[in-house]
Structures are given as structure tokens and as C-alpha cells.
Symmetry: C2
Subunit: 257 residues, 2 copies
Amino acid sequence: MSKKQTSILITNDDGIYAEGIYHLKKALQGLGKITVVAPLVEKSAVGHAITLSDPLRVMEIDRYGEFFGYAVNGTPADCVKIGGRCILEDKPDIVVSGINQGSNTGMNIIYSGTVSAAAEGIIMNIPSVAISLTSYTKKEFAYSRKIARRVTSEVLNHGLPDGTLINVNVPAVKEKEIEGVVVTRQGKGRFEEAFDRREDPNKRTYYWLTGKRMLLDNDEDVDDVVIHKNMVSITPIHYDLTNYRFLEELKTGKLGP
Amino acid sequence: MSKKQTSILITNDDGIYAEGIYHLKKALQGLGKITVVAPLVEKSAVGHAITLSDPLRVMEIDRYGEFFGYAVNGTPADCVKIGGRCILEDKPDIVVSGINQGSNTGMNIIYSGTVSAAAEGIIMNIPSVAISLTSYTKKEFAYSRKIARRVTSEVLNHGLPDGTLINVNVPAVKEKEIEGVVVTRQGKGRFEEAFDRREDPNKRTYYWLTGKRMLLDNDEDVDDVVIHKNMVSITPIHYDLTNYRFLEELKTGKLGP
């Protein structure tokens, strides 16, 4: 029996017209049949949102004069669900989400549409990878393309434990400036937020969320620390959210039965 | 020096006009100064979304002829951020999110707006609690009100470990049918999804996400198992998403440096 062609589902949260997803598709060319299913418009910081109250529509999208993929009027998680269940006949062999512009590290990954797409993949029992470039503006995609291809190949060849995705962050620098590739753990880095209070032309108050990223770790094996040293960070992420250590304490304590 | 009054921030994802948040406010009366900051409209299944691209507005809302709280045109996470940083002068002593209609257990908690509000609390270093009633329709709030008050009091008195929230699910039955209160771990329960494909009056295809909840656990100490036995489930949740077991393997393997 001939093995079916490897099926790769690509998505992102910057939207189907973003530069990163174009690079990702190019980077994975030749590894299998690639299907792009991505949000029609940018869906950053949507967390693991799914669309329950609105109908979803699927549109065929061309880029540079040729068919590129399918756009969905939903979130990255919606794209993986509808891609894996409606657009593709069978579940894909891998979900690859990215290449995001902006790092997804520390506590901030819980806001990340890019990582949530990969999370949706593992909920569907599909090995999944999220890839981010650590700059919102610098278009230094060359090395992240290489890493995307390498990690995707390795995951296709070796698989991943059930319920685990690989979260990759690539410094937005040239290859010769990259200092290595490191397996890391998720740090505690997060945004210190503020709200910018303004008045609209009708004298009504409104607020913009602002903030700056805080590096709260020092350890050499932490995602945020590593990328600041121009190293690629590779973190295995799962969604077993139970705090087991506190669970035992809780059983004996006031909150228990 | 006199101790400042305890400050309690209440939010939800069913919206400020939902029945559950009204019961929650009533349930916590007398434990401190209660401030309600909740989404203006229902925001279920928004995951940990935050609003970056739109301005946020805050509205004062009355219910039953008296001031009830503040509505925000955003997500539950937005409500906790703006509540804790703009509406209240100081960070509250606790965030309590609920009472949600519909359980938040197993893998489904990553979609939950209710739990994400509590997660936002712990990101801001505020002890936080999420409370759900295990029915979308049954208005059996009486026992969940008791549990909400009890858990809130205990957390105010004893605190929680950094970065840990308490996720409570209360069966939607009368108190006399409740079989106990159990400390649990997060199970693997999730939705088995399907898409309902339809045509609109203009012959364009659209899809509704549907699905049914799958119970994938048997162990006595799992959230989903416990609530099916009419017991209250209390789970300590944190957001350290690193799969440490696989991390060590990864360091020695193909994906490593």
C-alpha cells in the first residue's frame, strides 16, 4: 500500500495576507501537501477564542496571482477546527502556526493566537508547532524559515508526546548573528499594563491598553532570556493546568471537604 | 493603623446583565467592598482574549433600580485589567469570576472566558477564583452562592500560592442532592466538534460550529467525573505550561541544539 502524502495545515494569527505566513508556506515547500487556512483579518491577542455565536465562512485567496489558501472570518483556533474537519478530507499530519511577528514567550503565550492555533491542533490530536519571529517590525525571516522547516521535519519524523506542542521563537537577526538553538521552559515574563485615558470629540472617555514587556527571569533555560541572547528558543508546551503541588495541600486544608 | 476595607472585584463572561453575576454579588455581600466590572455583552468562549485594536469604554449600569456595576465593551480579561488599574484606585484583594452558566472543566477551560478572567487576576498577582454552575439553562443558583461565599472567604483568609487560581464547578442541583465537595485535577474532557454546513438565502455556504462534550476520564479525582456525581469540584489551576518531562527528552533529541 502506498503511504498517503503528508498533509500540512498552516495557519497564523496575523491574517492570511501577512508576510509571515507567506514565508512559512515557502519554507515548508516539498515536505508534503500544504493547505493554508488562516484568519481573513489579523486576530492577535485573541487567546484561545472560538466562534460560537456567528456563522463561519471560508474564502479562497490568491496571492501574487496564484491560489494561496483559505481565509476564515474567525480566529486561529477556528481555522484549525474548520481546516481539519471541513476543508481537508482527513486530519492533517501536522499543524504549523506562524511565522508570527512578535515573540510568544512567558505568560504572554496565554494571549497568543499563534500558540492557540497549535493548541487547537493538539486538542485534535495533531502534532503542532508555533513559530514566532521576535520583532513586530523587522522582516528578518530567512533564518526563521530554516528553523520552521527543520522543526516541522523533525516533528513529522519523530512525533510529539500526546497533548504537547512545540513553541519556537526565533530572534529577528541574520543567521550569522544567531548564537544557537536552545530547549527552554516557559518563563514568567509578562506585560506591565497601563491604560491611556482619552476623550473622544464628543467628550466621552475611552481607554487604550498600553504596556511594556517585563523580563522577570534570569535562568539560562528560560524562553525570554534565551531570545535576548540571540538564541532560538524551543519550548515544549502542554495544557495540563493543574497545580499538583498545591492540590495535595488543598486536600488537607480549609478549602477541602 | 486601621486596615483598609477588603476590596472584591467581580466579573464574568456571560455579561453584566446575566443572572449568575447578580447572584454572585448577592452571595458575597458583607465580605468587603464589591466592585462589578463585566463585559457589556456575553463573551463566552473568548479564551484569554484581550482588546488591543479597539478603544475600551466603561459604562455605569443599574439593575433593579440601583447601581450594579461597570460594563466594559471588551472581554473578561479586559474587565479585570481595567477594573484593577482604572476603576479601582488600588488592586483588589481578590477577583471572583462567575457564576458562569455551563461547566468549565477539562480541556475546555482553555476556551473559558470565566476562567480567563481569574487567570488575568493571577497575572496581576491577585488571588482569584472562577465559579461555574454545570448547566446552561437550570437556574439552580442557591448552593453555588453558598460555595462562592465559602471559597471567597477561605481565599481571603488563607491566600493562594503565586500564580494559582481556584476553579470551582457546582452541580446545578438542589443542596440536598449535593454529594460533597472534592479537590480535583483538570481532566482531559473536551468537545468532539462538527460543523453544520448550510446555505444562506444568496446560496453562499456558511458553517456553524457544533459538537458534543466528551467525558474522557474515569479517575475519581477528575473535575468532570466529580461533577457528574453531583459533587462540587475545586481545582487549583496555574499557567506553567512547560511539559517538563518532555523537555528533558527534547534536550537529548533531534530537536535540540
